[in-house]
């Protein structure tokens, strides 16, 4: 009876792959957004707050309007608004962007929980996935390959940004603002405006990442929804050395690492599960140690970035 369903160790592999795809999407979206922001020379640590705010807004909008896509849009807009707030305050002289990020983290989360209380119980419509696994008879495979379009949007974005940063004018402008603000000003660009736009875009993408969490996977809104994904994405950007395509691979890696724990327990390995769950963080720290050096800044780090000094 259990023939077709019992995949044993293949089941674990499948769970990790499927989990990697699912869990990585918010990391991907947030890290792409933060890459843009940091390339322009600002660091936005408030993305956790932006993510949660996006999740709440997306869920609430979907519930109230009946359209999950409208919810995703609203999530992005909410994220963009917080990004604008971050940029506006950081544009004032003598303001430290890291501190503003921490303040927005707090503010964003507080606001999201406050406004989101009435939405914890109800169930709104969820984002549909693309049934890419319909070729298989096995329900496990079918489910594993039921992938959200947001994953592909994220992938397309990563490719586009990777190409765009190197080959288009706006990519150059962005990078100049991040590498040498004086040079940018010298040719008449408004560095503040570039950074503002980059931070707004970053906020929009983070909001989308949050919307993914509440509208697709795990598809719920409550106060425990995010377990630090927004903060992790910031580490991820450094891990990926500010390259959009590397952000994509790193997101998959982190997603897989998060999925290992539960997957492995289903085949009976139960010891030390907390240590499994620490895997992504240890991995990032290890890579940071390996790739940093005191004599030069992290390769690829925008020179204007406050945390790369």
């Amino acid at each position: 009876m259990s023939g077709t369903f019992d995949l044993g160790w293949w089941g674990v592999a499948l769970a990790i792959v499927a989990g990697a795809i699912r869990v990585s999407t918010p990391y991907l979206l947030v890290s792409l957004g933060e890459t843009l922001t940091e390339k322009s020379g600002r660091v936005n640590l408030g993305l956790e707050g932006t993510l949660v705010m996006g999740a709440m807004t997306g869920f609430a909008t979907s519930y109230l309007t009946g359209s999950p896509w409208l919810g995703m849009l609203a999530a992005g807009v909410a994220g963009a608004a917080l990004g604008l707030l971050h940029a506006a305050i950081c544009n004032l002289p003598r303001v430290n962007d890291v501190a503003v990020g921490i303040a927005l983290f707090l503010f964003g989360i507080g606001l999201a929980f406050y406004l989101g209380k009435p939405f914890i119980e109800p169930r709104g419509p969820m984002l549909p996935g693309l049934p890419l696994g319909s070729w298989s008879d096995n329900p496990a495979i079918r489910s594993a390959f039921d992938i959200s379009p947001m994953f592909f949007i994220g992938l397309a974005l990563a490719i586009a940004l990777q190409w765009g940063l190197k080959n288009t004018r706006w990519g150059l402008v962005l990078r100049m603002a991040g590498e040498s603000a004086d040079a940018a000003r010298a040719i008449g660009l408004s560095v503040d405006r570039i950074r503002t736009l980059a931070t707004i875009a970053g906020g929009f993408l983070s909001g989308l990442g949050g919307g993914f969490l509440s509208l697709y996977y795990p598809g719920n809104w409550n106060e425990g929804l995010s377990s630090g994904q927004g903060l992790m994405a910031i580490a991820l950007v450094i891990f990926a050395r500010w390259s959009p395509m590397r952000c994509f691979y790193a997101s998959l890696l982190f997603g897989g690492a998060s999925a290992i724990g539960p997957a492995v327990q289903t085949v009976g390995i139960t010891e030390g599960y907390y240590l499994f769950y620490a895997a992504p963080y240890v991995l990032t720290l290890g890579l940071l140690i390996y790739s940093s050096s005191p004599s030069r800044t992290l390769a690829g780090a925008p020179s204007e970035l406050s945390i790369s000094r």
Binding site: G41, R42, L45, G49, L85, I89, C90, N91, L92, P93, R94, V95, N96, D97, V98, A99, V100, I102, A103, L104, L106, F107, I109, G110, L111, A112, F113, Y114, K117, A181, D182, D192, G228, L231, I234, A235, I238, G272, Y274, L275, Y277, A278, Y281, V282, T284, L285, L288, I289, S292, S293, P294, S295, T297, L298, E304, L305, S306, I307, S308, R309
Partner: protein, 375 residues
């Protein structure tokens, strides 16, 4: 003003906002007018935040005046409320130092949460190992072990920064998560007290090591420890050569190098002291409240400490006032919930607003009072 000494980097240009050096973090310093100005700015920022929050509440249909009256009642209005505020403020005095002390040497450390956890773990392991020791000695050693554990944890981030250039904000953030995973792992198995079926917690420290309340108040002695440590640190940072060396390093690294200061040692020391303070807070949670380590150590003490440090503009004495303010807001949150049905998150919104306003206010520094000639 607090501009860094002759920094040749682009970021010190007047309108740059990437904030590369942390000189601004040092806050009120040598000139009395600067100290006064800083204080006035912070107060103005808090008032603005309070007005904004009041507007937010009014939009929700609550009466802001009534809410603020209740907030005062719950924070300072009765003897009981005051005790409540002090209880909330006590650990913040110490965890704020975890961000404050490294900030003096120009590092932005957000690892207070992890240091608190390590402090708790260190305390229970030492406490259990010291089984038969006499009470007061056991208490002191247990606290010291917690402080040591926290200090080493953050110092490792400092070492990574100095030796490998690893950014300390990110590394301490990661260390927080690793510390929490370590705590969960240890209290679920290796150091677990299996006779406690109530929850997963570590073995308990001997009763003789526990500390009690200040006579006449329902607040434990951890408050006094926090006050003493803050005061001592303030003396250290402002009135000793060591503190002055740290200031120089924080102001401008190259100048410090030229002056021949031992940069690596200063960084390690600053991180160690900061981590030790937060670790002490964790150990006090064990010794004054719980008696054993469990997930109850992870309640955001470290993260709130970051907030306190920034609001106090990295001044150890101001930390005391700010901790009282934030403690008061937290303490009255419950009353707001019960009387007005305002969700618990409202206090977080208020704290976030205050933080944002205080940060924005630094844009006005140097413009409010007539300036004396350059420092």
């Amino acid at each position: 003003m607090r501009e860094p000494l002759a920094a040749p980097t682009a970021a010190s240009a007047p309108h740059s906002s990437s904030g590369v050096t942390y000189g601004w973090l040092l806050g009120a310093r040598h000139l009395p007018t600067d100290g006064l100005e800083s204080l006035l700015l912070s107060l103005a920022a808090i008032v603005v935040a309070a007005l904004l929050f009041g507007g937010f509440l009014a939009l929700q249909g609550h009466d802001p005046v009534a809410v603020y009256q209740t907030l005062y009642l719950g924070a300072f209005g009765t003897h009981f409320s005051l005790e409540n505020t002090l209880t909330q403020a006590a650990p913040l005095l110490l965890t704020a130092l975890c961000t404050l002390i490294p900030a003096r040497v120009g590092l932005l450390v957000i690892g207070g949460e992890g240091a608190v956890v390590l402090g708790g773990l260190g305390a229970v392991i030492a406490g259990a190992a010291l089984g038969g020791a006499p009470g007061p000695i056991g208490t002191v050693l247990t606290l010291a072990a917690g402080a040591l554990a926290g200090g080493l944890w953050i110092a490792s981030a400092g070492a990574l920064k100095h030796l490998r250039g690893v950014n300390e904000t990110i590394s301490t953030l990661l260390l927080n998560y690793i510390a929490i995973a370590l705590l969960n792992h240890l209290v679920s198995g290796p150091i677990r007290d299996f006779s406690q079926t109530l929850k997963a917690q570590s073995w308990s420290i001997p009763d003789a090591f526990m500390i009690g309340n200040i006579p006449g108040w329902s607040v434990h002695w951890g408050l006094v420890i926090g006050l003493v440590v803050c005061s001592l640190l303030h003396l250290l940072l402002r009135h000793t050569t060591l503190g002055f060396s740290m200031d120089i390093l924080g102001g401008n690294r190259r100048a410090a190098q030229m002056a021949g200061l031992p940069i690596g040692r200063l960084i390690l020391l600053a991180c160690f002291l900061g981590g030790a303070a937060a670790g002490l807070a964790g150990a006090i949670e064990i010794v004054a409240v719980h008696g054993a380590a469990s997930e109850s150590l992870v309640v955001g003490l470290g993260y709130t400490g970051i907030l306190v440090a920034f609001l106090a503009r990295q001044n150890a004495l101001a930390v005391i006032l700010v901790a009282l303010l934030l403690g008061g807001i937290s303490a009255s949150g419950g009353l707001l919930q019960r009387r007005f049905d305002i969700p618990h998150a409202a206090t977080t919104v208020l704290q976030g607003l205050i933080f944002l306003c205080v940060l924005a206010s630094s844009a006005f520094a140097g413009r409010m009072l007539p300036r004396r000639s350059a420092a």
